[in-house]
Structures are given as structure tokens and as C-alpha cells.
């Protein structure tokens, strides 16, 4: 099972409406790079001019904020979920972690 990147509602207009994107990366950084290579319009919303993840964008690896896992260099494996969550509001409505 590939790594799944979960896209919040707010970002789906950049991914042709797709809520989940498969990727084959081995780190979160690679996963984000794959994502923005595939959907270039998303790029400026993921990274700032210095190449850092934008301040108001939180990235989770399987429910854990990646800042507790060593940042975007942390390793990922098949079946892992990488979630993008704008820090103020917005999440992935179709994420399995949602209350139904």
C-alpha cells in the first residue's frame, strides 16, 4: 500500500478535487516534493520563499505533528498517511480520523 497524502478541503482546488494522493516517497520532505511537482499551484502554499514549510501549515504523519518526529526529514513507509492541515482551520473532511 503506498503512502497516502491527505489533502484538506481548502487545498483541493489545486489537486483537481482529489482528496488523497498516492506517493512512493521515503521521507515527508520527499512526499511534499512529489506532491508539489505533480501540482505546481500548490507549491507556494506548502513552502515559503526560503523553502521552509509555511508557518500556518501543520503536517501530520499518522496523527503525529512532524515537528515531534524530527521535522520533514522523518521517514515514512508504505501505508503511512501524511496529512496537511492549515493550522487555523480546515482539515480533511474525508479523513478516517474524522467523526462521522
Amino acid at each position: 500500500m503506498p503512502v497516502i497524502i491527505e489533502i484538506p478541503t481548502a487545498f483541493r482546488r489545486f489537486t483537481d478535487g482529489q482528496p488523497k494522493i498516492d506517493c512512493s516517497a521515503v521521507t515527508v520532505a520527499e512526499a511534499l516534493n512529489e506532491l508539489t511537482a505533480k501540482f505546481p499551484d500548490l507549491s507556494r502554499h506548502v513552502r515559503d520563499e526560503q523553502g521552509q514549510i509555511r508557518q500556518f501549515l501543520n503536517i501530520y504523519l499518522n496523527e503525529e505533528d512532524i515537528r515531534f518526529l524530527g521535522g520533514e526529514s522523518c521517514s515514512i513507509k508504505d501505508g503511512d498517511r501524511v496529512l496537511l492541515v492549515p493550522s487555523i482551520a480546515g482539515g480533511c473532511s474525508d479523513s478516517p480520523s474524522c467523526v462521522d
Partner: protein, 423 residues
């Protein structure tokens, strides 16, 4: 007639009119309410406050309220307590406590932010309101929703203090307990706001909600005789309050209601959850989130949404941030109660304990006017001080028994004084 306020992105400046949204669709940064200050300078007059009741609605022109909105209940208007004993103990001549421990209706400053959020909820037609909460916000939402006829559904960490849970349940709100910390609860609420058509006061109504905090600052200035203090010590959870007090002061200067002067902002956190104070003290360009571990549950937000803005405000004002341990928090709760007769919740212990640290560090001068912001009532966090006051044995209902007790207590006090004298 155009409205006097609207949403604007704090980063890219794009405006969004008035809608239940909290982030900018252009750059996904936070939104805040901005005002037409040029029009307000003409229409909002300080002398028109004179006939109004002393509560937060006296500042209505400066709040994001629909035209003609009448505040449905009295909120705010809390005492600014001039310190008698603690100031003397600390060597401060002009120490004050802004006492939102007695804010109405639910005894914390959160009543202010809920008041403005529910005005927005009414405007946008929401029938159900809610929040993610460490306790005080849930209390305030539940109380005011009951008063105003909204349904309420609040989300809390499952291990919240029992008093806070009861203080929400009694108003009839639905309570959803989440097996996680506040940051987990907050993230879930962001997803729920996305899916359901509910007015979550600190999610999709956040810009309107946070404006209510300004009234804490307006009142301070008015109660000091339309003068700004030199120093303000503010507890920090999400980091919003400290930035909104600063905004309030700036607005009063813009409107010409107070004279401009530098105000130093000092942030207070618990050591067990101190991402903002850590960011200030280590001069970090970005704060590092933490996993909260502190009795100060109302400040236990490891990933503060307004953290970057709080850090900026503190640095730019020439202030500082400090944090205190759990034992220091308890000592400070007791100190404030014993010296000033104010019973604050753990956040108040944090703020008082940090104020003491700042004084010890020489960061607050004796003659300066310093306001310490107390944001919630001690009755909400009694579990933090349970065990601090062992009960004496009961005595028989006879005068002789009482006299014997007095003799025994006098003997103890006398022996202690003697021992201290010899030491």
C-alpha cells in the same frame, strides 16, 4: 452604507468582507477583523461612553457587531484592583490586577470573546454553536448559548478538571469528550467546522471571537483614567489575548482616546507548556510545539495558533516572557488570595507567579504602572489546590473546647516564633 469592519488577511492583506471564515483562501494565513478607523475617528467618541453601563458593550463601535446590535447580556466590566499588599511586598508602587475571575456570566475572560462570536453567529444564521476548549471557553459558550437560545456542542479533552465539566454541563450544552489533548480536540473541531454548518467560535468564527478580548484592554485603559500602563503581564494559551490587548491599546491611540506611549508586554506560561515563552527566551524564529504537561490546563495548548504573533508582540514591545512550574503556580494562587483576596484559577497563578519572576529579574521597575491580567476564577480549578489546606480535627460544641483549641494554637505559634527568633 459600507460596513465599518471586515476580514483581512494578517499576512497578504487581502480582504474578505464578513463571512464565517478564519483563514485566507489566497495564502491560508489567519484572518483578523480590520476597521475603517478614519470613519471611526469621526463617529466613535470617547465622551459618548459616559452614559453607558460599565460592561464590554460600551465599546460597541470598536467591535465587529452588526449595526444596531444590542448586547443581550452584561459581560465584562470587571474590577481593576489596585494592589495593597502584594505591590508593597514586591516593591511596586503601582501594581494592579485586572480581575476577570469575576467576569460575567461564567467567571472568565472567555465571556468577552464568546459575546462577540455569538453576535457573528446570529448574523450568519447559525443555530448551533460550539468550540474546542480547555474548559473556560466551553463554560462561556454553554452559558451564553443558553441565554441567547442557541444549541451548543462543546469539545473538550476527556481529562478536563471536573469543575469545568460541571460548569458547562449545567447549562444544558452537549459535551463531547475527546481522548486526547487540546491540540487533538482543536484539530478535530477544524474538521467538524469543515463538515457541519455550525458556528465554532474559535474555529470558523475565530476572527470575530478574538476581537472580544480587546475589551479587557479597553477597560484597563479606561479604569486607569484613559491612560495606558507601562507593563502588562498576560497569560498565554493560544497567544491571542496578548495580541488583542495590544490591538486595543493601538486603537485607542489611533482614535485619540489615550496618549501614545510605549507599553511592554510580558507573556506568562506554565513551564510544562511553554512554547511561546520558550520561543521568546531562546530567540527562536519559529516556536517549537510541545506536549503539554501542567496543572494549568487552561493554558495547555502545545501548538498555539497565535504563537507567532504573540512572540512578535512581546519582542517588538521590549517585553519578555517567563514560565513557572506547577508548585510555583500553586504558591502564587495562594499568595494572590492571601494578599489581595483574589482567588484565581491556575492561569491566574501562572500570571502572578511570572509577574513575581519578572520583578525578581528586575524587568519591572518600582514606579511603573503594571497590570497583571487574571483571566479565570479559582472555583474552576479547585483540584489544583486540594491537599494544600489540611483540615483540623472538629471540636465539641462547647466554649471550653474552643478555649483549649486557642490555647493549643497559641502555644504552637508562640513556639514557632521563638524558634524563628533563635535561628
Amino acid at each position: 452604507m459600507p460596513e465599518l469592519y471586515q476580514l483581512r488577511c494578517r499576512e497578504c492583506g487581502k480582504t474578505w468582507g464578513n463571512e464565517p471564515r478564519s483563514f485566507c483562501e489566497n495564502c491560508f494565513s489567519p484572518l483578523e477583523v480590520t476597521y475603517d478607523y478614519d470613519s471611526l475617528k469621526k463617529s466613535a467618541r470617547r465622551d459618548s461612553l459616559a452614559g453607558r453601563d460599565f460592561n464590554m458593550w460600551r465599546y460597541s463601535e470598536l467591535l465587529p457587531l452588526p449595526a444596531g446590535y444590542v448586547g443581550p447580556n452584561a459581560v465584562g466590566g470587571t474590577p481593576l484592583v489596585a494592589s495593597r499588599k502584594l505591590g508593597r511586598e514586591w516593591g511596586l508602587k503601582n501594581l494592579y490586577f485586572k480581575n476577570d475571575a469575576v467576569c460575567f456570566p461564567s467567571l472568565s475572560f472567555k465571556d468577552r470573546v464568546v459575546a462577540t462570536a455569538l453576535a457573528a453567529a446570529r448574523r450568519f444564521g447559525f443555530e448551533t454553536v460550539g468550540c474546542s476548549s480547555t474548559g473556560n471557553l466551553a463554560n462561556a459558550v454553554a452559558a451564553q448559548a443558553a441565554q441567547q437560545g442557541f444549541d451548543a456542542c462543546v469539545f473538550i479533552p476527556s481529562d478536563l478538571e471536573p469543575a469545568k465539566v460541571l460548569n458547562t454541563a449545567v447549562y444544558g450544552a452537549r459535551i463531547v469528550r475527546i481522548d486526547g489533548n487540546y491540540d487533538h480536540v482543536n484539530r478535530l473541531c477544524a474538521q467538524i467546522a469543515d463538515r457541519f454548518n455550525w458556528g465554532l467560535v474559535n474555529v470558523n468564527l475565530r476572527p470575530y471571537y478574538s476581537e472580544g478580548s480587546k475589551t479587557h484592554g479597553y477597560e484597563i485603559a479606561e479604569q486607569l483614567g484613559w491612560t495606558l500602563p507601562d507593563n502588562v503581564v498576560v497569560p498565554m494559551a493560544g497567544g491571542s489575548l496578548i495580541t488583542k490587548i495590544a490591538k486595543a491599546f493601538r486603537e485607542l491611540v489611533t482614535l485619540g482616546w489615550v496618549e501614545a506611549k510605549p507599553v511592554r508586554f510580558f507573556g506568562a506560561q506554565a513551564t510544562g507548556c511553554s512554547p511561546i515563552s520558550d520561543g521568546v527566551k531562546r530567540n527562536l524564529s519559529r516556536f517549537e510545539p510541545q506536549k503539554p504537561k501542567t496543572i494549568a490546563r487552561s493554558l495547555a495548548i502545545g501548538n498555539p495558533a497565535d504563537g507567532p504573533y504573540a512572540i512578535k508582540q512581546i519582542r517588538e514591545s521590549g517585553g519578555w516572557a517567563e514560565d513557572v512550574s506547577d508548585p510555583e503556580i500553586v504558591d502564587a494562587i495562594k499568595l494572590l488570595a492571601e494578599t489581595e483576596g483574589i482567588f484565581a484559577e491556575t492561569a491566574g497563578g501562572v500570571t502572578t507567579g511570572v509577574a513575581k519572576k519578572l520583578v525578581d529579574q528586575g524587568r519591572i521597575a518600582a514606579n511603573e504602572t503594571t497590570v497583571v491580567c487574571i483571566t479565570g476564577n479559582g472555583l474552576k480549578t479547585t483540584d489544583a489546590i486540594v491537599g494544600e489546606f489540611p483540615l483540623s480535627d472538629a471540636i465539641a460544641p462547647r466554649i471550653e473546647a474552643f478555649e483549649a483549641l486557642m490555647d493549643a494554637q497559641y502555644a504552637t505559634v508562640h513556639a514557632q516564633a521563638l524558634a524563628a527568633h533563635k535561628a
